[in-house]
């Protein structure tokens, strides 16, 4: 009910900046080079509130490419980045059930 973008920013642990692409709404992540990617694996990972704020400020200024930028938690493993909560898992993997068109075959 409160979108993450409207919540007070306090970041503990690792996080990425995510948004939706303006043209088609696709889920995108901010890269270290200041671009956007649809692959979480290519996202810039930051730790702590200050670093997250800085990356967010730059990403939010780029709203003609991607809109609604916010900080999303991630879990960083040895060889991969995983979304840090259910909402972000759903944004990566899609709805948690088969879409109707697939059921109907």
């Amino acid at each position: 009910m409160t979108a993450p973008s409207q919540q007070k920013l306090k970041v503990q642990g690792a996080a990425v900046i995510t948004a939706n692409r303006l043209s088609d709404g696709a889920v995108v992540y901010r890269t270290a080079a200041g671009a956007w990617t649809t692959q979480l694996a290519d996202a810039a990972v930051v730790t702590g509130t200050q670093a997250a704020k800085e990356l967010l400020a730059r990403a939010a200024a780029d709203e003609n490419i991607a809109v609604g930028a916010y900080v999303a938690p991630v879990d960083v493993g040895a060889d991969r980045i995983e979304p840090g909560n259910l909402r972000e898992r759903i944004r990566v993997a899609g709805p948690t059930f088969s879409l109707p068109a697939c059921i109907a075959g």
Partner: protein, 552 residues
Amino acid sequence: MYIYDDFDLTLVAERVAEFRDQVARRLSGELNEEEFKPLRLMNGVYLQLHAYMLRVAIPYGTLSSKQLRALAHIGRRYDRNYGHFTTRQNIQFNWIKLSDLPDVMADLAEAGLHGMQTSGNCVRNVTTDQWAGVAPDEIEDPRVWAEILRQHSTLHPEFSYLPRKFKIALTAAATDRAAVRVHDIGLRLHKNGTGETGFEVMVGGGLGRTPFIGKTIKPFLPKRDFLSYIEAILRVYNQYGRRDNIYKARIKILVHELGAEKFAAEVEAEWRNIKDGALALDPAFVADIAARFRYPDYKALSDNPIELKRARAADPKFEGWFRNSVTPHRTPGYAIVTLSLKPEGAPPGDATSEQMDAIADLADRYSFGEIRVGHEQNLALPHVAQRNLPALWEALDAVGVATPNVNLVSDIIACPGLDYCSLANARAIPVAQELSRRFKSLDTQREIGRLHINISGCINACGHHHIGHIGILGVEKNGQEFYQITLGGRADENAELGALLGPAVPYAEVAEAIEDVVAAYVELRERPNELFVDTVKRVGIEPFKERVYATR
């Protein structure tokens, strides 16, 4: 159905052109997101978790077969081959690209469809009884009044930037199938002591974070004053509704803070200034709108034809569906057929493009080309000759919309929840799917009887959980999904808000908790046809609480 003329088509086409320009200005960066957002919302375009979502209005829930095919086409061409029917007589497409949206709108406009005012702080799609015009218990067709309101509120120069969204519903029947008491304005057509037909006006109902049942501020409003009185309500709200806090901006808060009497007095004072002006309804105008509704050329048929009798006697499956999904029509020899969009294990209210096309074909063949959409997220064919019911049933069964669970425990109303919605805290659809699997036995469902489960994935209550017999509200606690359960709500003419059962239960336990509630009801009810809500009223929620929390 309402027949668009060149005025209506011109306006919709001009709206598409305007939106095309707005999208182009946004994509070029001329408009920033803050400026563009209210513009896209006024056209029903949201940005959700995975993509843009488009909400298309289905005014008063009436669709022509041509319109349903247009919706199927949108799903196929621009989305992922399906659409989701909502609790407010709209359909949503979940995977639309912003860059495609002007073309989507143009395709819809050709069929007289649009997304105007399906979002934003304006008067939303005006809803009514999905059986309007065919229900035996209505005093007149409420869609005429819904259409008058639709026209009046469309691109209204004064009320397009209200403090918050504004929902109006109408009913003209003894049984309220439009949930008018939980709308910002609810209107009930009825006759007064002298036999004149007019409106009971209720205001300040609504669900969401602060649910209220609407209060009657005008027991009888003559038809002539229909528009001027609603204009007065909107004007008072536009000026005095709160704009400092989004959670307190709905008219229900204004009505609550002022008190219904004081609010009514404000409306009366404003109304006196305008009641004899341009909005006083000329009977010729009402007649003109009414004449735009076409009714089928029914044949002279009698009830219970031999074809129906034979099929009922011969096939218990048909008989089960007939008893569940077929409702009396006001014309002899005809019936209203509800099409369940709640098959076992499916997301409630979803229909594939193939299903929509097939239903459009069946509507042409068996229902004078007309389809209805109800707030329960099911469809209906409103004008089916009873002798055609056996053939129709087979055809509906073949496309998966003949599950005979209408109004039963698996006919669950659910919002899209966290699987799609950026506002949600918890999932709703998987909970509905799991419940529909647990209650899949039709015998069990019939034994339980009429029971409405409503699920919302957040406090905004799009799944209308407060007015479900059993309401389920998803909340988030420490990153986990939990669900509050409410009992005893109802949406009809005796509308009530459910009472909280107890502490929220985790996702993994919610289906079992609901099974416990239902089992307790079956044991506690006085007789098999005592409604769940009546049992709750009689025994209170304590026995249910004991049952659910004894083992938790």
